[in-house]
Symmetry: D2
Subunit: 337 residues, 4 copies
Amino acid sequence: MDVVEVTPTAEQYAYTFGGVAPLRRVTPGTALRVWSDDAFGGVLRTTSDLSSEKVDLRFVNPQTGPFHVEGAEPGDTLALHFVAMEPARDWGASAAIPFFGGLTSTAVTATLQEALPDTTWIYELDRAANTVTFAARHTDLEIALPVEPMLGTVGVAPMGGEVRSSLVPERFGGNMDTPQMRPGTTCYLGVNVEGALFSVGDGHYRQGEGEACGTAVEGAMTTTLIVELIKGGALGAAPAWPRLEDDAHWMTVGSSRPLEDAWRIASTELVRWFRDLYGLHPMDAYQLLSQTVRAPIANVVDANYSSVVKAPKALLPRASAYGGLHDDLRRRAATLR
Amino acid sequence: MDVVEVTPTAEQYAYTFGGVAPLRRVTPGTALRVWSDDAFGGVLRTTSDLSSEKVDLRFVNPQTGPFHVEGAEPGDTLALHFVAMEPARDWGASAAIPFFGGLTSTAVTATLQEALPDTTWIYELDRAANTVTFAARHTDLEIALPVEPMLGTVGVAPMGGEVRSSLVPERFGGNMDTPQMRPGTTCYLGVNVEGALFSVGDGHYRQGEGEACGTAVEGAMTTTLIVELIKGGALGAAPAWPRLEDDAHWMTVGSSRPLEDAWRIASTELVRWFRDLYGLHPMDAYQLLSQTVRAPIANVVDANYSSVVKAPKALLPRASAYGGLHDDLRRRAATLR
Amino acid sequence: MDVVEVTPTAEQYAYTFGGVAPLRRVTPGTALRVWSDDAFGGVLRTTSDLSSEKVDLRFVNPQTGPFHVEGAEPGDTLALHFVAMEPARDWGASAAIPFFGGLTSTAVTATLQEALPDTTWIYELDRAANTVTFAARHTDLEIALPVEPMLGTVGVAPMGGEVRSSLVPERFGGNMDTPQMRPGTTCYLGVNVEGALFSVGDGHYRQGEGEACGTAVEGAMTTTLIVELIKGGALGAAPAWPRLEDDAHWMTVGSSRPLEDAWRIASTELVRWFRDLYGLHPMDAYQLLSQTVRAPIANVVDANYSSVVKAPKALLPRASAYGGLHDDLRRRAATLR
Amino acid sequence: MDVVEVTPTAEQYAYTFGGVAPLRRVTPGTALRVWSDDAFGGVLRTTSDLSSEKVDLRFVNPQTGPFHVEGAEPGDTLALHFVAMEPARDWGASAAIPFFGGLTSTAVTATLQEALPDTTWIYELDRAANTVTFAARHTDLEIALPVEPMLGTVGVAPMGGEVRSSLVPERFGGNMDTPQMRPGTTCYLGVNVEGALFSVGDGHYRQGEGEACGTAVEGAMTTTLIVELIKGGALGAAPAWPRLEDDAHWMTVGSSRPLEDAWRIASTELVRWFRDLYGLHPMDAYQLLSQTVRAPIANVVDANYSSVVKAPKALLPRASAYGGLHDDLRRRAATLR
């Protein structure tokens, strides 16, 4: 299986979902190896590089894409299977951006208080050990942490002609910032426009759940993924909100405010999926997920907050979604590495 | 080490935190084996038992307690180490109570819609297999699920003379409904009144994170725990909000509405704990937890919502809280079983 | 009509709804003239008196009461008609209390930021002009503002044996902090315990809607009110949440978090009231209030937020609630002044 | 003063802010008389016309515009002064759209409950009496209500290249759905793109605060307005969020979720405006608005909720904004009618 390499120039970076001409056209079944810049466009390189001086929040999370998927139409479901993610630089950066993040007031959770001190942390990557090192800015503590690469941002063009900043997670995916978006995961997204126009970006060398300070260990990333398309109606309705599948879990992602609404979205979407997977009545699906799921918060810092609900396959009867596509993609992925 | 057995009569059940005379006085160091009734007071026994007919939401989660801890004063920290939890009946019950739960409007998230159908599920316990069985009400599906016992409700008397329903999670603990409250966990709670006046109840044979439908697999429980007291000032300030520790995690629990506030509480409390444990500046603690924690939702259904933030000890330097009390309690617990 | 004068000693102040022995027993129909201290217990007297030094947030809003209403039982409705409110001191005080208020992070909307500067404002009362004067602390601006007296706190004992701080607004009324609680208003509250056990306090010489900084022009107040009791079932069900009536409006008050839930509560309670008043189907009541009501925010700063929804009587057909009690109380009030 | 008449064809309707080519170019100082269709595009004409059959929520609130304002650049402030609004049809329509509105679960406040019944109300306009008549669907009640025309939707193109549905209120204005957007009001909006690209629509013959059911008395409208431009820096910074001024009030509008965040936005924007108008320190501005403002909820039903904070000029020292532009526009408007 061939892999198409894509590395955009800085001029080709996209900062929105929708509203951008395709970077490239791909056919379903294509494997891509795409390079994406970090959330800051690579401008935070030392702890002296302050986000207030170097980062414009209207232009962060540069996307690689969008990709026009041949044959994709509204009502179809796009499947993106992540095969591998490799740090593309030897360091990652994180920052407490003034009035951005979860433990500070912001432009919308607005208070009259002063901002937290604008602070940058640089994480050196040790490729041999596969770690990034947290170095405290105020004391001498250093801690090597395992690299656990993921993508903060995976999305398609929104419905209704909207164009949304790459800071936004919503129905179309986007900046969900969940550690579940990692190698081995298949992401299902409803197609809203012809060609789907998906893009990826915002690589994280690792991230805690919630992404408390607003930024992960942000790093340029080389991502290998396989693109697939499920034609509408063939295998059930397109998901209303992003669905994820890995070998161990059925997962849904809701994004809204307040955070309980994000959770409500993810939970009702999982009720719908349980109906498809197990033929369950909604009340039985509601009961079953109440006793079985994990509910990790994804982020509490973006334009919408994101909540993941994940059901362990091991607890549930065997079932397959979209004609067993995930298992098939896993097999195909194995031939790539 | 002796174990004091406590089984209340139905007349002795407490339905509030605070406002109830002590059931018993205990000295720090005491091991207790307490029986607690299920959240419904045992009245849902078949699927024909409807919550709207049999359950009064003002009197659920019957507590066993309160226990007056000798010598406990405001400013101290109560430590409760859970040694074992054993199902005390051969079945558990769950219910979709009208206008109660996460995927329905409620008395406060009030809409004009009809309630979801009042539905009860009974889970038969298989002690040999250590499972409870989900039986769908609308189809034939049955699924045996592992028993993973936990307590929904662990709390002390509130500050300021308040008395709160046993449905409420707050600063004083209470109805946090987190699966983390299980055997092997130590729960630290700030003491607000003389004697602390703690109680426990609301046993769950298992529960998913979020407790979506509002009720877990509710079951009477026999809980073995060890009571300890940390005198104020001796080992750092009392926690402002509940802290949990097990062999693998430092955890905090925030409870409020909206859900992001519960998460903010838990996260800032963990920043404070990281400062105590590692001597970190708050900004470094903020950064470190941003990249390392798990953030499972506890419940989105109670009078307040609860959010857990948990830091894996394995990722962090070795440290001990409260003079290494948790490890000491683990050792003592081992002599009980 | 006689008026019973009640002035508590400081030792008699109540700081909770519920949990306090009655200060006095009154029969329905009684007129009371009650003195209440200000929210700070009178300790902020100059701009040098800082809330962080002088105010304990666990003991603010001292209540005058509770009053045991003879014959009141759960299921009944208590009606309190406010006849007059007169400033009982020559100054009012307001403060930006650290981590308390609407434009700051708080103990529950928790961030890592510094508190706003602890600041006190003293408002001199000009009885002749009936004004209080805002004096800027950082410039020379002074502005005389009309006195518009109101009570922040009016409530009964909660249901289910709960005891709540006088900082809390809830189903039982309490610290709703709405300017609608002024002379000429009748407040209807469902009775939860024998005797109702109502209390009043937290006088405001004036307050903007939202009570943004967390405190109004707080002042000791002499309040004249008439107590009435509507026996359960006689004239419709007791209100689930506080209802207010003045000559011009039907009003409901919801208190919860997030603020939209407070508004949902108030709106659904008004739908129920419209059904009683006009025999409307809930969908028609929903439509009618959608096009006619005012929706002033009461407070966004207390333990719960409060939202008022008010329907102008002038837009609606003539109707009367509780047998025309409000008009009757207005007539009786006229004989008092 | 001449008035430019603009009536779009249905093909010219815009359904987004941003992303649409200008309908027309206008110079600052121009008076426009624009016709706008109702929120439903005129398709709900009888009570048998159901929104679920006739309305596509991706294409509601058709906008008239956008208008390219000559010389407008990012950093400038657009001022739109509303001179007159006249119902352009003899009836208005309102609907309880399934899963849309404030007292129902929605796509984001998602529950498993059934939708409320899809219901349409038609309001006949009596031009002589200047009333629209509510006619109950389930009983015989009819109530004539005064026409109080307003525009739900006034906005410019968003920043950062975003394109937003005309259902969205945000920093750029948009679907704020506040009754304050009426004749006599001047609306100030920060300019984000060259030409500003403003549009108007969503006329309401009247609306209660909160717009509880999600729709007002929706009607086609003829709006007369004057367009002005304040060049950046000349008279203070552009507003971060919409500001409104009428003869009696300084007003700000915040839009976000949860509703308290909308209120926080509006309140902090008013603190900034008070600083400009009165030279006040932020803490004094915070205090002053706490005691003086009204805080009517605008809507709790749109993609974001909107909150208005309004300070009565009569309570405050005389001041003028943007060089007294509002008073000047009032004078110019008088020459038009």
